[in-house]
C-alpha cells in the first residue's frame, strides 16, 4: 500500500499535469452546469455522413445527412439508472408524475442501488418511459439520439460502417428478436462495432428522441374512425429496405409507443451533439 505514495518524479510531474488538466476540465464543467457529470460509460465520436435510412424521406430524396455526434458506447444499465433515481427522487416510482410515466409498468422492481446483485446491476435498464430516459440523459449532460443517428450507427458491424448489404449480418441481428423476453437481457458490453459502440443489436429495443416522428401507419392506438384527417401533409411515411427486417421492427415498435409507455425489453442510451445548442 505504501508503495503507491512513492511515485517516481517524472510520473509525479505527469500526474500533477493530469490533475491540473482534470481540475481545469472539472471547473469548466462546473461552470457549464451546476451538477457534476457522473462517471459513466464513455461517449464515442461518430463521424457524420450521408446515409440511406429505412424511412423514405419525402420529395424523393433518398439519403439523409447525419452530422458528427457522440453516442454512449453502451445502453444505460440498471445500476446507472438506479443511481440516477436515488439522486433524483422525483423519478422514483410512486413520485414520478403520471404524465411522465405509466405507473403500472415503470420500474416495477425498483430498489436501492446498493442492494442490486452484480448480475442485474450490469443489465440494460428497461421499463423506463421516454420522459424518464430523457431526464437520465440530461443528467449526463446528453440527450436521446434521433432515430436517424441510431439507425446510422446500428448499420455498422465490427469492420464496416454499413454492413446492411450483408445477408449473413442481417440474419445475425434478426436472431435476437426470437429470444423469449422472459429470458431477460444479458449484461451490457457486447462486441464493439467499427465506431466502438456496443449492444446496438441483441440486447434491447431503445428509445430515440423523435420516436413520435415515426408516423408509420394510420394511428391504430386511439381506436376511432376519424382517420381521414389524421395526418397533415404527405401522410404516413414509407418504409424502404424491406430486407432489413430487424430495423423495420424497431421503427414499428417505436411508432406504436406513447411517451409514458415502458416495456420489459425497451431500454435506451444517450447521445451528445458536438456543437452545443445555444
Amino acid at each position: 500500500m505504501k508503495r503507491v505514495h512513492h511515485v517516481k518524479a517524472p510520473y509525479r510531474l505527469l500526474f500533477a499535469a493530469l490533475l491540473f488538466a482534470a481540475q481545469g476540465h472539472a471547473e469548466a464543467q462546473a461552470r457549464a452546469q451546476p451538477q457534476a457529470i457522473p462517471q459513466t460509460a464513455p461517449y464515442v465520436p461518430i463521424p457524420g455522413g450521408v446515409f440511406a435510412s429505412v424511412i423514405a424521406s419525402d420529395a424523393g430524396a433518398d439519403d439523409v445527412k447525419v452530422d458528427d455526434f457522440q453516442l454512449r458506447s453502451t445502453p444505460v444499465t440498471v445500476a446507472e439508472f438506479y443511481a440516477f433515481v436515488e439522486r433524483h427522487p422525483q423519478w422514483r416510482p410512486g413520485n414520478a408524475p403520471t404524465v411522465f410515466v405509466d405507473t403500472a409498468s415503470y420500474l416495477p422492481e425498483w430498489k436501492l442501488q446498493a442492494v442490486l446483485d452484480a448480475a442485474e446491476a450490469m443489465r440494460p435498464v428497461t421499463q423506463v418511459s421516454w420522459f424518464a430516459a430523457r431526464a437520465y440523459c440530461e443528467h449526463e449532460n446528453a440527450r436521446l439520439p434521433t432515430w436517424t443517428e441510431w439507425e446510422y450507427v446500428a448499420a455498422a458491424d465490427t469492420t464496416r460502417r454499413d454492413a446492411r448489404g450483408d445477408a449473413l449480418w442481417r440474419a445475425g441481428i434478426l436472431s435476437w428478436t426470437t429470444r423469449p423476453a422472459s429470458a431477460g437481457a444479458p449484461a451490457v458490453g457486447g462486441a464493439a462495432n467499427v465506431y466502438g459502440v456496443r449492444d446496438m443489436h441483441g440486447l434491447v429495443w431503445e428509445w430515440v428522441d423523435d420516436f413520435n416522428a415515426l408516423l408509420v401507419d394510420a394511428d391504430s392506438r386511439s381506436g376511432d374512425d376519424a382517420d381521414r384527417l389524421k395526418f397533415c401533409g404527405a401522410g404516413a411515411i414509407n418504409l424502404k429496405g424491406r430486407q432489413n427486417y430487424a430495423t423495420l421492427m424497431r421503427v414499428a415498435l417505436l411508432s406504436s409507443l406513447r411517451a409514458v409507455d415502458s416495456t420489459a425489453s425497451l431500454g435506451f442510451r444517450c447521445a451528445r451533439s458536438l456543437v452545443s445548442s445555444k
Binding site: A96, V99, R143, L214, A226, C232, A234
Partner: protein, 209 residues
Amino acid sequence: MKTLSRWGRAAAVLAAVLSAGAPPAAALQTAVQVAPLPRDSIYQLAVNLTDQQGRRLALGDLRGAPVIVSMFYTSCQFVCPLLIDAIQATEQKLTPAQRERVNVLLLSFDPAHDTVAALRKTADERHLDDTRWSLTRTDSASVRKVAALLDIQYRALRNGEFNHSTVLLLLDADGRIVARTSDISKADPVFLKAVRSAADGAARRPLRR
C-alpha cells in the same frame, strides 16, 4: 468558533436586510401557495412559451380554467386551418358564459418559422380573441416534449411542411387531459359535451392577468 459566530451574525444581519428590502407583495405571494399540481397534470412539464403578443408564459400559467389545446404551424395549408375552424365551431355551440370560461392554446411545430409576428398574423387573420386564445412558440426540444405529452406525432418534411396527427385535447383547470378528438371536420359532439361540462364547472379566468 468565534469567527464562525461572527460570520453567522453577519449573515443573519444580511438576511434581515435583504428580507426587509423585499417587496411585501412578493412575500405574500409566496405565502399564499396554491395546491400542488396533481401527478396527472401536463402542467408538470416545465416549458416556456411565447405567445402572439410576445408575452412569455409557462405551460402551468394556464392553470385555473379549462383549456382546449392543439398543435399546428402557421404555414400549414390544409389541416391547420380546419383545426382552428373546429375549435371555433365548438366555441360557437357554447353559451357566452361557457365560452368566457374556456381558453385555447395552440403550440407551433415550427419554431424556425413561426415567429411572434407569424403567430400575430394568424391570430389577426382568423379574428382570434387575444384574451382567450394563445398562439405560442417554444424551442424545438420543448416542442418534442409537449407533443410527447399530448401523444401527438409530427415530422418535419424537407419542403418546410410538417406531417402531424391532428388532435384537439381538453384540459381541466388543473391541466389534466379530460377529452380528446381527432375529428376536426365539425364540432365533435362528444368533445363538445366535455367542453360544456368543464366550462360549467369552472370560474372565469382570462389568460391575461
